[in-house]
Symmetry: C2
Subunit: 699 residues, 2 copies
Amino acid sequence: MNLDSIFNPKSVAIIGASTEVGSVGNDIVKNLTTQGYTGKVFPVNPKATKLYGLKCYPDVLSIPEKVDLAIIAVPASIVTTVMHEVAKKKVKGAIVITAGFKEAGQPERELELSEICRKNNIALIGPNCLGVINPAIKLNASFAATMPPAGGVAFLSQSGALCTAVIDYAQKLEIGFSKFVSVGNKALVDETDLIEYLANDPETKVIALYVEQLKDAGKIIHAVRKLIHGPNPKPVIAIKSGKTLAGASASASHTGALAGNDAAYEALFKQAGIIRAYSTNELFDYLRVFTHNQLPVGNRVAIITNAGGPGVLATDEVIDSGLSLAQITAASQKKLTAVLPAWANFHNPFDILGDAKAKRYEATLKIILADKQVDSVLVILTPQTMTEIETTAKAIINCKKKTKKPIVVNFMGGRLVTEAVRTMRSDQISTLQFPEQAARSLAMLTKFAGQQKQKSTKFNFTDINKKAVTKIFTDAQNRGQKALPEALALPVLAAYKFPLPKYYIVQNETEAEAAVKKINGRVALKIVSPDILHKSDIGGIALNVEPHEVKQKFHTLIKTVHKNAPTADLKGILVMEMLHVPSSAEFILGASKDPGLGAAVMVGLGGIFVEIFKDVSFGLLPLTKENAAQMVADLKANEIICGARGQKHLDGKSLVESIGRLAQLLTDFPQIKEIDINPLVILQEGQGVKALDARIILE
Amino acid sequence: MNLDSIFNPKSVAIIGASTEVGSVGNDIVKNLTTQGYTGKVFPVNPKATKLYGLKCYPDVLSIPEKVDLAIIAVPASIVTTVMHEVAKKKVKGAIVITAGFKEAGQPERELELSEICRKNNIALIGPNCLGVINPAIKLNASFAATMPPAGGVAFLSQSGALCTAVIDYAQKLEIGFSKFVSVGNKALVDETDLIEYLANDPETKVIALYVEQLKDAGKIIHAVRKLIHGPNPKPVIAIKSGKTLAGASASASHTGALAGNDAAYEALFKQAGIIRAYSTNELFDYLRVFTHNQLPVGNRVAIITNAGGPGVLATDEVIDSGLSLAQITAASQKKLTAVLPAWANFHNPFDILGDAKAKRYEATLKIILADKQVDSVLVILTPQTMTEIETTAKAIINCKKKTKKPIVVNFMGGRLVTEAVRTMRSDQISTLQFPEQAARSLAMLTKFAGQQKQKSTKFNFTDINKKAVTKIFTDAQNRGQKALPEALALPVLAAYKFPLPKYYIVQNETEAEAAVKKINGRVALKIVSPDILHKSDIGGIALNVEPHEVKQKFHTLIKTVHKNAPTADLKGILVMEMLHVPSSAEFILGASKDPGLGAAVMVGLGGIFVEIFKDVSFGLLPLTKENAAQMVADLKANEIICGARGQKHLDGKSLVESIGRLAQLLTDFPQIKEIDINPLVILQEGQGVKALDARIILE
């Protein structure tokens, strides 16, 4: 979508321009006329003649010149009427500030609005938003009072009120913005469209999102991965609220969107390569570190400090965040002896002692930065009596100019360090308040560097029988059947080449005995009925049945089910081979739908432990081989697959393939609402997996 | 320990007072003479006559008047000599600033120093420290440049350099201090002594610790619990560094103390009732909230905000931190309709909308504070164009004065909110930078209120046979045996009345068959040898042996062990009853020693899962019934005990009792270095537990 008319309009009409000072419709005109925007501004207000020295027009169609962008702040009830006029005027960008749409229980009104824009090729931001700011051209098309300084951060926010806080706080931190977008209800333009646009925006270096709900995981993953792996990669950092149920419903009450499952978002961010900030504090930390540094080539951090305690705190966080402490070369060690006192710590973290002056900091930093075994540096300073705070800051600035390695700085203190911190900030040095924050931010920068290297290999199954599944689903839909129990779900899995044990559906004892003969071993008997989804609850399963017991057990099973579910329509008994596999583990594989993101695949350790340890991981579509492998690697139960405690290795590769087959099934049949393959038994390495039971729910 | 001579000296001698400006020995004299201290100051320097207008003395004994406190900053090699003179002078408090003791590989020097002080009843702070500050009497007995403002926080720090950063940052936050102590190597006075002293210090409201290593869990738990449950309870907040191995060794290199196991510290803080901050950022947040608020009576929080997004972020954190969203009464709901616009959110979080002015904030806050279903309030403000920032701050201050309920405030922004934040801070309002921080801090305040209510019930076992264990351990020690395998460990458990299966130690096949007859069922055969601690590794175990197989299996077992461990001294075969318990679970119970804290009891789910899920919890001595119950409750595997997924309830009560019995054993026999009871089988409710195997290692 071309959003130039939104961000770089040559002319702007404000429909709903108000003469009432302090009103939204007045603020926007003020912002457009007093903050340096050089384009044309046309206030539309049928009752006024002049506003901030500009002629007012009764409606947008009366404006004699071309209008690129229309900002709409009229009452909700007339927004669509106005939008028709905007369309007629051939305006190509619109921002609807007005609230009173989906978030107020008026989804139809919102749909009508978006349809007008879609048909007329109008890029629509909002409704229910604060507006848009482009500091580079001094365009404040919002009712936020302050124009943030220009810089490299594009900020997209699903909360309008948060924007004003962010602008104000960012100014204090000297974080500049390339674009500022309050996305509102996202009736048309959403984060994905904006990310695609910002990918080619030369002013944007980092994209930051405040998100309550996102739509269409596939589109987001595609857009972000394209950006990250493109010629001009930019990090995308997101904070997602509504993690808890209470938070999600609070969020729904103010944007009208369901927040969905946090684990699905976790998967989305991982697959797309979006850096997740878990708090606003972290978000700002990451913005500072990402805007000021190039990416490190590896994860080896050197810590230089004049204080032991903060050095230890930073070390803890370095390790906890998955980085490693750099081991410097013998040559560097030797060089350090020339610049440090004998009782300093020559091992990382480098404690250069409380009496370290600027020269000692600079000499150490130079040696460490030059060391080929160091990928990034964290400098800590506490204000001791003899500490040369400002001079040390300048030394760091000088060193930073001569290196490509990231440097993150923590001058720990208050008033004493304020001036030095300000100097460093305005000279492109990332300074953080506390050592832990500095370490964590550096870890995220490193993580992003790793993201860039991640490959995307598609699964490619040539052995699947899509037609067979289409028929099963069509037949079920024709019958009005949504829940497909085992007897219908297993053929679906078979068509997608999930390995299954031998099984037969039989109608009587004689057929059962014939089936057992073919299986030639112990069997499981399970009731087949479209009315019974949870067979074990009503005694519809008999396990470990010996061949000679089949007749009697068949009889008992039918009797029990008749008693416990007298109205159920019995379609027979499923006779299934029992597996005899000493080294194996029961996993669970499944999928459900997130209201915004779409189908989410889940894998985890099965049995009682899935509920107790909740050791599951999620993946979204489209799912690459790397994603599926990562899902398995993320499980603690992966240790079982890798042969925990001297046990045999299990067939993890086949588990990964099964995840891929399930993802393929979900891609091919979006009508699947839920699917459970439980248990999926993972056999020894090289022996594959077996799906023992399954159920499917269609939309 | 009476530390009055340290904190409230009428006269101070500085031994090692230096004429060299910028040196530590000079800074201390300057701090004592220029920052308002009104006591007598005696610089000791044999080479100088005057310093900062004061007469210098050649040594402490030459001072003609009584000296309460001696600050020592002479070279490490002569510190003990000086301390002898200090003792002779009958000085009762000493601060040794000098480094070069345990942390520099000189533990003997440190021991000698502490011995002199102990014998002469001198309270010793240090060595290797920054000193002590008591702002109330303007005593800056340290080389920190700045005197922090007086206030309610006592700060004890194991890192000297951290102190200067804390003082500087705290000033910015308007946090005041009652005492400031750099504890250094803690050769004599440690955190426990200081906590006991500060318990009775009227100026101290909150005690904060920066800790790398602590000693003697029992002493700490006793001191802190006494403080919390005493007539004048004060919260103790700690940040512990050296969580990771790399962090721990970095910490060791600068204080010479081993950091120990972080899980043991987690247990210590929980049992003692110490609030743990996981970062310096959190520490400061908690200090702000604890110093300004009374304790809430419950965990129901109301959030008032003019911005949806931050309200959602706060809600997430409220729930994640274990608090709940208050549901206000119908009466309050009705009152709210009179003061809020119709489209505000009348449910918690209360979104009073972006155009909320001070009056709306105040009216809402009053209604919410008066609601009996609200225990604490979180107020969020973002600076919208129409927001009355300063007036709202004043409204909050007014409301706070009329309520006992905690109020935590987040004015989210930068320059626009600076003045209002400053006003609130100086008027005893806790303001935090971000909504999540505000919510988390409130959660900690609530958690502390809960801590105060926690009971301490001692285990009281009257059925244990201490003598029998004494004999087993004495015999082993006489033999020079440190590792006690099953055959020696089980009798120890039997003496402490752990339920055991029937077992017999036999020497030959005939005795084995006789044992099986008495057991009357399947048995396990296990090799008995002082040389073999891990029996299964060398094939020394046979399980599920049928009575008729005993002879043959006995023979095979002996043969296998002879082959795999030809030199092992075989003392026979242990014949043990096999349990037949369908509903049961294998747990592991054990203990090891933390280098600083002492014996740590561990409980967890046994088998392969202990390693994969690391679902274990720890407890320290002395261990109350409540602590043991909490250890079990903290396990995810507790769900198995509570009957996960329709299974039978297991005997959790007996597991708790077993933890108590193990704690008693460890208390009675401190020579136990390690003990493992694995597996400890938990039977169905009412049927107890069974210890199937054990081993003990003595010091």
